[in-house]
Symmetry: D2
Amino acid sequence: MFDKFHDECGIFGIHNHPEASNMTYLGLYALQHRGQESVGIASSDGARLQLTRAMGYVADAFDEDKLKALAGPFAIGHVRYSTSGDSGLKNAQPFLIDCAHGEIAICHNGNLVNAQELREGLVARGSIFQTTSDTEVLLHLYARSKAATVEDALVEAVSQVRGAFSLILLTKDSVITVRDPHGFRPLVIGRLGDAWIACSETCALDLIGASYERDVEPGEMFIAGPNGTRSIKPFPPAPLSHCIFEHVYFARPDSQVFGESVNEVRTELGRVLARETAIEADTVVPVPDSGVCAALGYAEESGLPFNMGLIRNHYVGRTFIEPRQSIRHFGVRVKLNPVRSLLAGKRVVLVDDSIVRGTTSRKLVRMIKAAGAREVHLRISCPPTISPCFYGVDTPRRSELIAATHSLEEIRTYLEADTLAYLSLDGLLSAVSDRRGSYCTSCYTGQYPIVSPRDEQAYLQLALKLDK
Amino acid sequence: MFDKFHDECGIFGIHNHPEASNMTYLGLYALQHRGQESVGIASSDGARLQLTRAMGYVADAFDEDKLKALAGPFAIGHVRYSTSGDSGLKNAQPFLIDCAHGEIAICHNGNLVNAQELREGLVARGSIFQTTSDTEVLLHLYARSKAATVEDALVEAVSQVRGAFSLILLTKDSVITVRDPHGFRPLVIGRLGDAWIACSETCALDLIGASYERDVEPGEMFIAGPNGTRSIKPFPPAPLSHCIFEHVYFARPDSQVFGESVNEVRTELGRVLARETAIEADTVVPVPDSGVCAALGYAEESGLPFNMGLIRNHYVGRTFIEPRQSIRHFGVRVKLNPVRSLLAGKRVVLVDDSIVRGTTSRKLVRMIKAAGAREVHLRISCPPTISPCFYGVDTPRRSELIAATHSLEEIRTYLEADTLAYLSLDGLLSAVSDRRGSYCTSCYTGQYPIVSPRDEQAYLQLALKLDK
Amino acid sequence: MFDKFHDECGIFGIHNHPEASNMTYLGLYALQHRGQESVGIASSDGARLQLTRAMGYVADAFDEDKLKALAGPFAIGHVRYSTSGDSGLKNAQPFLIDCAHGEIAICHNGNLVNAQELREGLVARGSIFQTTSDTEVLLHLYARSKAATVEDALVEAVSQVRGAFSLILLTKDSVITVRDPHGFRPLVIGRLGDAWIACSETCALDLIGASYERDVEPGEMFIAGPNGTRSIKPFPPAPLSHCIFEHVYFARPDSQVFGESVNEVRTELGRVLARETAIEADTVVPVPDSGVCAALGYAEESGLPFNMGLIRNHYVGRTFIEPRQSIRHFGVRVKLNPVRSLLAGKRVVLVDDSIVRGTTSRKLVRMIKAAGAREVHLRISCPPTISPCFYGVDTPRRSELIAATHSLEEIRTYLEADTLAYLSLDGLLSAVSDRRGSYCTSCYTGQYPIVSPRDEQAYLQLALKLDK
Amino acid sequence: MFDKFHDECGIFGIHNHPEASNMTYLGLYALQHRGQESVGIASSDGARLQLTRAMGYVADAFDEDKLKALAGPFAIGHVRYSTSGDSGLKNAQPFLIDCAHGEIAICHNGNLVNAQELREGLVARGSIFQTTSDTEVLLHLYARSKAATVEDALVEAVSQVRGAFSLILLTKDSVITVRDPHGFRPLVIGRLGDAWIACSETCALDLIGASYERDVEPGEMFIAGPNGTRSIKPFPPAPLSHCIFEHVYFARPDSQVFGESVNEVRTELGRVLARETAIEADTVVPVPDSGVCAALGYAEESGLPFNMGLIRNHYVGRTFIEPRQSIRHFGVRVKLNPVRSLLAGKRVVLVDDSIVRGTTSRKLVRMIKAAGAREVHLRISCPPTISPCFYGVDTPRRSELIAATHSLEEIRTYLEADTLAYLSLDGLLSAVSDRRGSYCTSCYTGQYPIVSPRDEQAYLQLALKLDK
């Protein structure tokens, strides 16, 4: 509904738990913010795999009967975001296939930049594709591997793909976790009694009462199988490229991501933002919920009072029947309502995490002014977003990114803000402390850690072609 | 899901708008927090009335076809909360009847304390009841009135009932608003172009871009009809008894209620709470969302840092499939997750708006301690709740209210908090400024502004009997 | 979907069965042909009544949970046909009310001709109406009765209404069955172990394995209560007026109605029709399923071979998405397909039970000719339908009845049949053997056994007004 | 619900019609009797293919929006029967893939007897399987073909499979129809204006007003493409093996199948049955609807009167909530009810098309006797069914076929019939006139026209393994 980048998926897997599918269901519920379009769970009873996928939210898609049918102590699951309603169930994960190495199911968070080349090669060699997902490429490579074991075949397949991938796979008796050598997307390991868990964020561990053990290391393959767990690092090392946008916006603030508390990082972003972009004002107001942490940091650092000047409606549905006689700011008002008593006559520092096209920000600024604010100073807790992402984030084309094509002053004028300021890239990196250099900042810099084999235009046209 | 008192309804009406039912749908959406069980809209095209009611949320219950079928420039609507799933559609409002005064539809927020006596009398005189709602009594009194006009008949009917009632009624060409002389429940008037609006809270006016005109006065009947609007005050005056719990918990913080900003009052409650119950601590953490305003006030007054130490999951469904192997704190964790980095090693002031049975608070305190908090100091932004409400609020029996039967120290021990403190009644009243004396505080004092014709026990048994 | 008169309801009640609501569900399923719009069941556990109503078919509307919630050994149920989708759940039966005589639920098959007068009187005396159903009038009369017992009050209420009514009522411990003195609509009594059953047709007894005991007599009130069963005849006797259309079309052929086998009567209609309207032809073809029995009789009597020349699609849904490029005879073809090999080159006697507007018959004749039939001789197993029914049958206005406004030859020309012949009234009555004089034939004669207090035009306008 | 063999699918395709998907929807509706579990339609606008699949009936699965989304003048569709609810959408057709030859969608009616061998070979060469359907094998063979054109690749793929297959395929601009050289399953060609149609039975042509042109010949590939239509016969000829069960039970009586009228054949089966198995009796009663044609033939030949002694309930749902207190013959009674007046005291010839396990027949015989029949003489219009089918028919294992393991007298005793007789194989073949030798009768003889590469036991175990 809002003008944001979107993470494309959340993944979860559990090995050796008597209620594996129920735990997966709960884990996916905790990861729902990473994908709301479709959800799926695959389970194994040690012999055969079962799969259920559905459109919609986790809590709506599964009932007790469906979970009961997903029997066995091993399970993996996936929530997916998609801009395209058409793509529907076809591309919903997990995928489950039968092949020379037996049955296997896969959940993938990320994006393979050489998927199209590989696909073309596979197609030429007689492979058939039933989805438009890059993940299907991996399955074909795996199936065609002559390696003797599941692990070796998987290593062989993964070695051929490039890009961002946090993977959780399910065979009849194992849950296998793989993270790309760059470590683009988060992936953590947890424990619950005798069970091992892998998932996108620690908040999924919290919900089921599991302990956080450690991150899956970039380039690591972690196997929980019938003979316990093993870890191997079969892929050549690569420069770290953690997605900094996970800290800026994607992850839940109660998660640990890339070894740091999201809430702490996000609050520090606000503090640095206040230092970098100080202005005389009366109150700091967040755009809920994503701007809350940074606004608290901003308020703390600036000494200005923090106020919930925008109230979120918690019953937001998918669509609204708008009257023909249009309502001013309807698009944002249906989700957020200004608190007049907190805004009237005030000089407001409005803190948001990011701006994509600027359409929502413009409506927000106008609505806050209509509620009586004397001045609105928009503060963004990351640098201007100027480049699309090719590593598993849903972004519009470069031409739609307002900061890619307009100057700061042009943006400010368009947004009708009194002032506008972004966090600097240095400021952003300073908030993630000692890990400087380990983050991917390509959306702010246009410098991509992995060069896509084709140029952007071709890539985006492909996406268009595939996503029928 | 949580351990709270609940408002029983939200109401909305609009007169003379070309898209009356669509506006009502949006107004009810903004009032959804006042009732999530059922929703209904009645409209009139000037000649005949139409009605649609459904279980569930506003956004799910109506689509474009249903709104189109609710034709005409006059409409009223209702959202309802109920503890009893069984009661279902039967008691969903609006009610729509045909009688000697023509067709009329009614929406009621409140509770009539003499409904049972009146019902017994009416039944004895041959009336039939199709619901277990006290509102149906009003319709019978209205239908039996020999008065010559709709208004006179309505005055005659309303004059016989006692209790809390904010009413919006729809005839073929008028929208009539009535508020009981005590002014228990909120009711405001707004304008949008040539249309007049009545609704429970101003946030509904905000969403449709209408202006807030004024509150319906206690004892006022406001008629928007074919000849414009008129206001009469046909009922004997009574001591004001605004429900103070609207400020404490029910209303949305972006609303004006009883002439004051809910956010402002609620923040002031936090400030007074800080002055009354100061303690040495490291951070102030709200129970979201209801405790946020008071926690901000508490933090401001105490100088302690405010932190979102509990993160709310925004995808909470109605039910969850819990594993057989129970998960600790599952009931609250599915809705709230602690942010370990903000709590670990900290002395936490946890601010909530109220405690009913204490079951949720106990789980919250335990969960926060399990996340590493060194101390948890629970602060409640209203006095101990010791008495049930008979004026339109869903409350458990007295015996289930923990503060009615236990000392402060007993409650603290049960909740496993290091300290526990409530706001004083004086402190509560001080936050609503110059209106001291105009509020009903019976849930804190047990002193009821209207004595129920029967004692509590009988009343509650009746409720049980009626609510089959 | 087809051009027929429609029975307006089927009713069922059972007293003293451990699974009363489940039996009622099955009974209603067997009576589904009498009403497909809505279905409802009320049950009593001896103390309180429960009610569930829903739109749609019996098999779709109830599941195990819903039946389990309808607890107790006493239950009644209703299936309803309605031309108006708008009327919806509001008018779905049973109705359940609380009144001076306690809780009572009612199911009604029929129509009260003086309902509007009574309603006006009741309204004037202060009654409120929540439906547009004539049945609600009965409840008000019952509630207003000063009689000391449920039975007496019911007798008093029923004594005031005129028209067609087969009623089954449920109190907390009794199932009461009432049939109007004219005996318009069918109503039978059955037994199953210790349980007593009342229902519209014997096919409902068959399904649950109950035995058919006897018909409820015209003017009888049959009470199955805590002290066993009793029968009283409190109403003044009246000339018998069994609805002959039950035999012609409404009832299931496997039922006994008015003491005779529907199949036998219907087959005899075909035999008489053959004698009265013989023609040289090659084959007798029924319009399935309603014309099958008569066609078999026709074939038997005429010596012509019987053939299923039209095949019914058993998966007919409520609506079909018709292409813009219209398909010839689509409306009938979607339900019936001609068997070319049986029709090509043949002189076909097409047997149907009745013609209302003639629109479907015209399409059928055309479709059969397009399938190659040399001649189509349409034979109708009842006389021309010239008058609407006021006794519980859904009929169009007189002006829409093709036989009311056109000559036989005009109808034949319109239908494009080579010949057209109806059964004579005498022929019709001869098929119901010794009961000549006991049937209502007003739809064929315009002579009504009960004169409506208002003229037809007024009546139909009323229907229009009520059925908003 | 009943104890029958089941056809596994119905297929439909249309080329060059402005409303191709709507026509396909209607065609599938007419073929609904061939598969009720799932339905799917794929369409092409000349460039890209679209696919929608759903569980359930055609009329429920599609609405106007879904058909509109299936744009373009080319479309194919499929209805599927399955015993296993678990298999669900995964195996629903059409399948749609992208491969070296571009996008292609496929609908298959039949069964490939060497699918497992081919699958194993493909898997060994690196193919991945996403379904358990034999049809997927064909797609892999097609994708791996090095042939230069779509047609050549298809010929190459089809040449490798053995068994029963009527195929309709969709490419971006062509609809290609293929029938196996044995001609196991029916497949016809029709025309509607400028459009070409292929479908399983002529009844689908009838519904949309298309003309029947001819059958697709065994071994023929018929291509409707941008340059008009072409027919090739690239496969080596094989002995004809039309499935005789299509005439006995599967096809709709209003269809032409294998060049003959199903109704005519089925009626003739009844006539021959009467000659072969004459008995003194009073009435001939069919088991509706499948026994009606044969019963009419039997009655005609025997001179006994034909009567609809069993009435079918037209509102049969998927499941029924059966009371704990079991009802006699509930399983059949919920679908069929005996007409006592036609059966009581009578010697009944009960005509059914086939017996599989005998469970339903036994209940029917008992129910008819309970309705008063003096004698029941069961007559079956085909020979004893002793072998399972491997050519696209859903049959139980041999051990469950009552006639495979019991003598005629044992079966009669089990069924509690007074006499029992089957049609002879010669009698059966005589009814299909001049085509003697062209039919597959393996279910009656155990002589299979294509020997399965593996023995039955292995085959059935495979089916079990695949059909997870």
